[in-house]
Amino acid sequence: MAYLVSHPDEVKVVSKRFGMGATNLDRYLELDGYKAVQKAISMGPDAIINEVKASNLRGRGGAGFPTGLKWSFVPKQSAKPKYVLCNGDESEPGTCKDRLIFEHDPHAVIEGVMIAALAVGAKSGYIYVRGEYRYLLEIMEKAVADAYARGFIGNNIFGSGIDLEIFTHSGAGAYEVGEESALMESLEGKRGIPRIRPPFPAVVGLWGGPTVINNAETLASVPHIILGGGEWFANLGTPRNGGTRLFCMSGELEKPGVYELPMGYNLKKMIYEVSGGMTKGRNLKGVVPGGSSVQILTPDEIDVAMDFDSMMKAGSMLGSGGVIVLDDQMCIVRFALRVAKFYQHESCGWCIPCREGTDWMKKTLTRFHAGGGAAKDIDNLKYLAENMLGRTFCPLGDAAAMPIISYIQKFRKEFEDHLDGKPCPYEKAAEPALV
């Protein structure tokens, strides 16, 4: 079970029902459950989409694409059935927020899927939960069964004449499946190899039908938008970045945890106030603000607003909400090596720049960190990473390359300090062999 934390600066929207027993359907109903979907039925598709557009809700999986706009791309008329797919494959290193949503408020996810389905005219919704999250899948399965038993899902929902089916689906361990086109392949019972776009899923998605794919946190935000209004939600955040966000604080912090803060909250405050600052005796070395795929920020770069646009301006990305805080006992080369090892492990091998690039990054960094590095390796690594950018079907290649480039750009001296066969100068003791 994941532990809950709280801080006075939190604005609880998505986490409003955490710790309140909302997995129980009666309790969920007491806490305004299934009111949003009934309101959405009375609003009709166009009004739902307009409300979500007005909320400035942007994709919480990491890309930050405006949700209302995404929904509006689904054609009104379609010969093939339309689908909604909830992405609960949470696997971005540093990210553990969807876990809390599934654990504490599963019906909010169902309601979000239902509202998305009403908005685009889909008759089926799938909730994909990563394979490792078995206990959460079981919570979701029970929630879906309970909702069916009350007639909230199924035929003629809330007397509207609309039929809507919702199913849960388990993954079996694959980071890449968190990418939307790979997710669809996985749901169709295949290897999670990405599809080329266009056509985008909104036009040709699951089994060839128009499909809306949203992250679990995105969908869990939707019922609150419908009840509270798009304008209310938008005003919680900053311009073009509506609402709140679940930030997963990790690393050597006094109070790590998942905190729900308004979009645009200051990153420095998030570390030193909300999370209680660094563990005693440690100093800040850098922050990876949006999951392992994004660029690192140095301590003098963190006085910045945490929203999609501000983070872009700061040279990084808001990403998945995984704020990974590095302390001064962590060697950047060692950190880079662990990141490279991850992407090498997860690359599906479909696109050559990613398959070969991640492998060479891992090999070079392994040798480099062990003291076998040459000066030219540093620029070679950067050159290698730069040549992966934008040359792959899915963003895994970029996700592997961008952080490595940033570590070299911002911590070049630490790389240079590993040259000439010297043992790693940034670690207390020799670390055990990695592979």
Partner: protein
């Protein structure tokens, strides 16, 4: 090949959820593995028949997913996360401690077939690092003492 009634029931319900038969493949393989212990040749052939695929197509899917395996592992599968958030909080020491405690290396099982140890990628326990999964159970904010308690507890349970 027949599976348990519960699994047969799950399979017959799940096939009705999708427009194509093969869509059940990934979750079904995982459930079968949970029951049988591994995706054996026989199990693969059975799934292939039921989803109207060739054995090879099923194997092709299996090889993509990190949780799916064709050989059984120890009864208690300890999967230690060493990815960045755990790394920052001492995951390497935790993994080394597990190795010493069990007397086995990465991706190895104890001779009695009780424990299996594996270094894995992010399991979504970043704010409660370092962490591991024992089968489907999360163990978080780990210390060497907690690991000893977990392993000794499981050993004791087996002796009873």
């Amino acid at each position: 090949m027949k599976f348990s009634d519960q699994l047969e029931q799950r399979f017959s319900t799940m096939v009705t959820h999708y427009p194509t038969k093969r869509s059940v493949l990934v979750p079904m393989l995982l459930y079968i593995q949970d029951e049988v212990g591994a995706l054996t040749d026989e199990a693969i052939h059975e799934v292939a028949q039921r989803t109207e695929l060739s054995d090879l197509e099923v194997r092709n899917v299996i090889s993509y997913y990190s949780m799916l395996r064709t050989r059984p592992v120890g009864k208690y599968n300890l999967q230690v996360c060493t990815n960045v958030s755990c790394l920052l909080r001492g995951a390497d020491d935790i993994f080394e401690h597990c190795k010493k405690k069990l007397g086995i290396g990465n991706k190895e099982s104890t001779p009695d077939g009780l424990f299996h140890l594996e270094e894995v990628e992010c399991i979504g326990a970043c704010s409660w690092a370092p962490a591991l999964m024992m089968n489907y159970e999360f163990h978080e904010n780990l210390t060497p003492t907690k690991i000893d308690e977990l392993i000794d507890g499981l050993k004791k349970k087996e002796q009873q």
